[in-house]
């Protein structure tokens, strides 16, 4: 492992370039790499061309070496040689333990079309959530699901009747309160050791640093450090990575290129994802990764192009590295709708085939607290069924395309669904019968789509 001071040093001594120029150079470089490596999205959700899968990796590696990460605070690039990158990648661990006690789960590298099902982390990630009871009960709805092996829930936007503003001391209070409530949710369900993926109630480093204590975030939990769009980082993110590494908890890097933005279309976004995964492994000392290619217009990961990026990057990374990567699935539809169950399928099928683990589904793209554990159960069951059956890529493409056609025209004006409160019995934290029936009907339909007839 590279020492963190070396990274800071490179960020303070690397070549200077104005940010605008960095953005434009990246855009041009991606365009030339797409051409040079002949990378082309052919409209199918799952990439099957083995040569192209390797080319995507090679192009991503070239981008990582040539561009490096841009450190916003110093306006300098953090660069590594190809040999350094390859050396640090060779030190990746194929296996990690998430959580503790009887909830300890091994996160293991998956191969393409692996029979081992993906590990699922779920919750209303990125979603602003209301008061204590709602927060805990909605978290419990995910923890109660057997398929869920880790929790990544939303943020608290007010404490003690006061709204939390970014940078205020209340961020500390909110983040500590959030982790306390998450751990209460774990205990109440009887899974106290379940893995937590960070607290989300603090934007600045104030709140996040305040939970690095066994009373809040344990060493078997993870700290979440995003890459900034595109190929960038800053002192806040580096501080978090440094503090988390020294504390000894896991570091999860979020790689979330915006398709249609500086990373261009699906081809450039796939190349950029590879470079961001590789570099965040080194710069953040990340232990696992969340891959979240989102569409610039609809914000979800469920467009045909974003689905293709998940599959292409998942396969390219699995063939060339030992990085442990989750597909971070965000759907436009909210809980309680028919479309939420349709929208989950293509990402899940493609990601499961392509060696990825799963995080999500985050419903209504995190805009409203319209999510429940039942959508996570659906995603987990689909992933498990897909992995066990080891579906052929042609079948994955056929089924994913059929599902995509059901919702593609609804992505720009999705049905945001119903709040958790309207779908679950709040006392028992169980899904209401009608919603459970919708789940069952949709899961049965999925099984028929892939040729399982009970």
């Amino acid at each position: 492992m590279i020492d963190p001071w070396e990274i800071i040093g490179r960020g303070e001594e690397g070549p200077h370039i104005p940010e605008k120029e960095f953005d434009m150079n990246l855009f041009k470089k991606l365009a030339s790499l797409e051409k040079e490596y002949e990378i082309k999205f052919n409209g199918e959700p799952l990439l099957q061309d083995k040569q192209m899968i390797n080319s995507i990796y090679e192009a991503g590696l070239e981008l990582a070496v040539e561009t490096g990460f841009y450190l916003l605070d110093t306006q300098r690039r953090i660069l590594f040689t190809e040999d350094e990158i390859k050396y640090y990648l060779s030190k990746s661990k194929k296996k990690l333990v998430l959580g503790e006690g009887k909830e300890a789960e091994e996160l293991v590298k998956r191969e393409i079309n692996d029979k081992k099902p993906p590990l699922l982390i779920a919750g209303m990630a990125g979603t602003p959530l209301p008061e204590r009871d709602f927060f805990i009960k909605s978290a419990m709805s995910y923890v109660k699901e057997e398929v869920v092996k880790g929790l990544d829930h939303g943020s608290i936007t007010s404490v003690e009747g006061r709204e939390v503003r970014t940078g205020s001391p209340l961020e500390i209070h909110a983040t500590r309160r959030e982790i306390t409530w998450l751990r209460e949710a774990l205990q109440r369900v009887g899974r106290p050791g379940l893995h937590l993926l960070d607290g989300e109630s603090s934007i600045t480093s104030k709140g996040v640093l305040s939970v690095l204590s066994p009373n809040y975030l344990r060493k078997t939990d993870a700290y979440f450090v995003p890459v900034l769009n595109e190929m960038k980082t800053d002192y806040v993110r580096l501080s978090k990575a440094l503090a988390g590494t020294e504390y000894g908890c896991l570091i999860a890097s979020l790689v979330d290129p915006i398709l249609g933005g500086y990373s261009r279309g699906p081809e450039g976004t796939a190349i950029c994802s590879i470079a961001e995964l590789i570099l965040s492994k080194i710069i953040y000392q990340a232990n696992y990764f969340l891959l979240h290619p989102s569409d610039i217009r609809v914000k979800s990961t469920t467009t045909p192009q974003c689905t293709w990026v998940l599959g292409a990057v998942g396969q390219a990374i699995s063939k060339n590295t030992d990085l442990l990567v989750f597909a971070d699935v965000w759907v436009t539809s909210g809980a309680g709708t028919e479309t939420v169950f349709q929208e989950i399928v293509p990402n899940t099928l493609v990601a499961t085939y392509s060696s990825l683990h799963l995080l999500g589904p985050v419903t209504a793209c995190g805009l409203l607290p319209n999510g429940t554990g039942l959508e996570a159960r659906y995603m987990g069951e689909i992933a498990e069924t897909t992995a066990k059956k080891q579906l052929k890529p042609e079948i994955i493409n056929e089924v994913a395309s059929r599902y995509l056609n059901l919702y593609i025209n609804k992505l720009s004006s999705p049905d945001l669904g119903i709040s958790f409160k309207g779908l679950y019995n709040m006392e028992k934290v169980t899904p209401r019968k009608e919603y459970l029936n919708t789940f069952v009907a949709n899961f049965e339909k999925f099984k028929k789509e892939i040729g399982i007839h009970d």
Partner: protein, 225 residues
């Protein structure tokens, strides 16, 4: 008048070739093409086409940014020639745009800024993480019609509320239209904090801003609350 040269400038702008735009605008000026003609028939028309391509999903954000850069380079050459008294160019309005304090997201704001330019507005982009008092100072200094603020973090919305409160306290509220947008905001939230205008997408923002500025100009700026 060489129409081919204007077409070449327009095409170069559409394809984001900012160095070509700079070279061809210089060439056109040397050939005595009126600067207003270059502006209206090549640069603004080119940006309009880029805006249309963006709305139709034919180009990426970086394409729009490169065209905006081409527009800026062309404007740098033309502006001194048309800013003399009596020769000012006609603009639809002046807009100041920023991402609010503590928030560093800038993609949505950049798209709106580029599309506003394409619509014929003068845009002053203050960047990201801009404190409310700085926004007010710059709005006064540049005599803008509209302040557009972007916010992607729920916990940063309170700084937009501060901005609107500060404008009211300083009796400046009616001097500017305050428009807000970004993933953290909704129509209800924007009304709750007292914004004049909210849009969910960049395209919607342009439409709403066009209407609001027209109304605003028709009734004339008011000095006080």
């Amino acid at each position: 008048m060489p129409p081919d040269l204007l077409t070449e400038i327009k095409e170069a702008l559409i394809f984001g070739k900012y160095d070509t735009v700079e070279k061809k605008v210089n060439e056109a000026l040397k050939k005595k093409v009126p600067p207003m003609k270059i502006l209206n028939e090549a640069l603004i028309e080119g940006m309009k086409e880029v805006g249309r391509k963006w709305i139709d999903g034919e180009v990426f954000l970086a394409d729009v940014m490169m065209s905006a850069e081409a527009m800026r380079k062309g404007m740098n050459l033309i502006e001194p020639l048309i800013s003399k008294p009596g020769k000012e160019r006609k603009i639809k309005g002046k807009v100041l745009i920023a991402t609010i304090y503590t928030d560093i997201h800038d993609i949505g704001k950049k798209i709106v800024a580029a599309l506003l330019q394409a619509e014929g507005y003068e845009v002053i982009d203050l960047g990201v993480d801009v404190p409310p008092s700085k926004i007010i100072e710059e709005a006064l200094k540049n005599k803008v019609d509209l302040i557009g603020v972007s916010c992607l973090l729920t916990t940063s919305i309170l700084y937009i509320k501060d901005l609107i409160d500060f404008l009211s306290t300083r009796k400046l509220r009616n001097k500017f239209i305050v428009a807000v947008g970004g993933a953290a905001l909704t129509k209800d939230k924007s009304e709750e904090i007292g914004a004049d205008l909210y849009a969910e997408t960049a395209e919607e923002a342009i439409k709403e801003i066009n209407e609001k500025i027209k109304e605003f100009k028709a009734r004339g700026k008011e000095g006080n609350d």
